[in-house]
């Protein structure tokens, strides 16, 4: 039965959309970039190698929590033993990647991006979507999107850990303080982008002040809310920048760890 823009009573127009601009470009780009990231991240998560080069650790593997971790990479100890799945060592990356992944999967911006690009629901504004039925986020599994705030809290923990990693990178390979390398900058930039991404998050904006009915009774929280609101305008940009940041940061550490490049020290 005809539904949507072809429903009975609506203007009889054969086209799914009459848009004349390149509306498909944005979703196509999103698919390309996100898929590239997923392929790379999956490869790295299962590679289980080249994630540590004293004092640099890849954000994909920090904190390294299992006995499988290479020496010196476990900031918070090793509560987990070595697992083997189908004969392969279970990558310690998998213990932690679930959290940033969850944070981004439930992020209000990424939801928009992947609902449009992957689900095509809708592919672009005023372009008919291909699905016969639609229930949105009202039932499982998508109702779990409402758990965004828990992933936000978890994300904050990771931001702290990765910030510590960046501070620890002010050492040389002999663990002496007072040194700085390109790797230090890379880790610092990564941590900064992640903080900006978290601070600009809609849940953050809600928690810090958005949930209040009367701002005038909470002047400090109101002030903070206005700052977060400014960042929130740029949440989309921070989402992408921090995504690239994490991938490039990991790539840098990987190349150093694998010996392909040398981590250049300024002092």
């Amino acid at each position: 039965m005809a539904t949507g823009v072809f429903s009975g009573g609506r203007a009889k127009i054969a086209e799914k959309t009459l848009r004349t601009d390149r509306w498909w470009l944005q979703p196509a780009l999103t698919v390309f970039v996100l898929l590239s990231f997923i392929v790379y991240a999956t490869f790295r998560a299962f590679e289980n190698a080249h994630y540590f080069a004293e004092p640099l650790i890849s954000p994909f593997y920090s904190p390294c929590l299992s006995d499988a971790c290479v020496k010196g990479s476990s900031l918070l100890g090793r509560p987990f033993g070595i697992f083997h799945v189908f004969g392969a060592t279970f990558s310690p990356s998998l213990f932690i990647l679930i959290f940033p992944l969850g944070f981004r999967m439930t992020c209000y911006y990424y939801r928009k991006a992947y609902y449009r690009a992957f689900w095509m629901s809708p592919p672009a504004c005023a372009v008919a979507e291909p699905h016969a039925k639609y229930t949105g986020e009202t039932r499982s599994p998508l109702i779990l999107q409402n758990a965004h705030r828990w992933f936000f809290y978890a994300g904050l923990v990771f931001n702290v850990i990765l910030s510590v990693d960046a501070i620890l990178a002010f050492r040389n390979p002999d663990k002496q303080w007072g040194h700085m390398s390109i790797g230090t900058l890379v880790l610092l930039a990564n941590a900064t982008f992640l903080w900006l991404y978290s601070a600009s998050c809609h849940t953050c904006r809600h928690t810090i002040g958005g949930r209040l009915r009367n701002f005038s009774k909470h002047p400090v929280r109101y002030k903070l809310w206005t700052y977060v609101s400014i960042l929130n305008h740029k949440h989309q940009n921070f989402a992408w920048v921090s995504l690239f940041g994490v991938a490039l940061c990991d790539l840098y550490v990987r190349q150093v760890s694998a010996g392909s490049i040398t981590n250049l020290y300024f002092f």
Binding site: G4, I13, D21, Y115, T135, G136, K217
Partner: protein
Amino acid sequence: MARKLKLRIWRGNSTDGGLQDVVVDANEGEVVLDVIHRVQADQMNDLAVRWNCKAGKCGSCSMEINGKPRLACMTRVASFEEDETITLTPLRAFPVIKDLVTDVSFNYKKAMEIPAYEAPAELKAGEARMAQVDVERSQEFRKCIECFLCQDTCHVIRDHEENKKSFAGPRFFIRIAELDMHPLDMLRNRKQKAQEEHGLGMCNITKCCTEVCPEHIRITDNAIIPMKERVVDVKYDPARWLGSKIRKRDGIL
């Protein structure tokens, strides 16, 4: 100065219709509505189009221009290429009446379903005191001119007729947000109703409403997402739920 403009206008009614080509003069500085009026006066006396203020303030001349939901009075002719054909159709989320005029009664039905503002019972006229910072969020939503372009573009109903009964749409999510953020409103179950009765959960925040809003109201970021977060507070967050049971927190629930 004048240029020949190629228009393709949808003409018809609820049972049949199609696109018709016309060529019309357009002057510098004119908007699409000016040109439609010229077509109406010279070539198609009975061309149906809704309009009022011609100043982007009343939200009457909503239509789809080259497939995009827009106000005809806010779309400048100069924004199109010299030889571009401009296609004008009625809103495609609502039943058509004639030509560019659609039946938007859906929106008035939905308006009826949103509980009105409830002033504190003891408050006397003239005694209300509200800080500017406390009314600003709601004031943004009250800029709405009810052009219903957000409703038209929202795929939840545009692409799924069957959802119309259970989904209020972006225009009414900002109305709910306006009231839930109103410093004096007494009704405290707006969040629950938003989720359970007005279909807030159907929204997948794909932001087309924000993209088309001629008043630049940040519908998704400032109304829908904050409402979704408020719904989480009262429905899906055990910590908040518990907290609210233990002590009634000031001004939150």
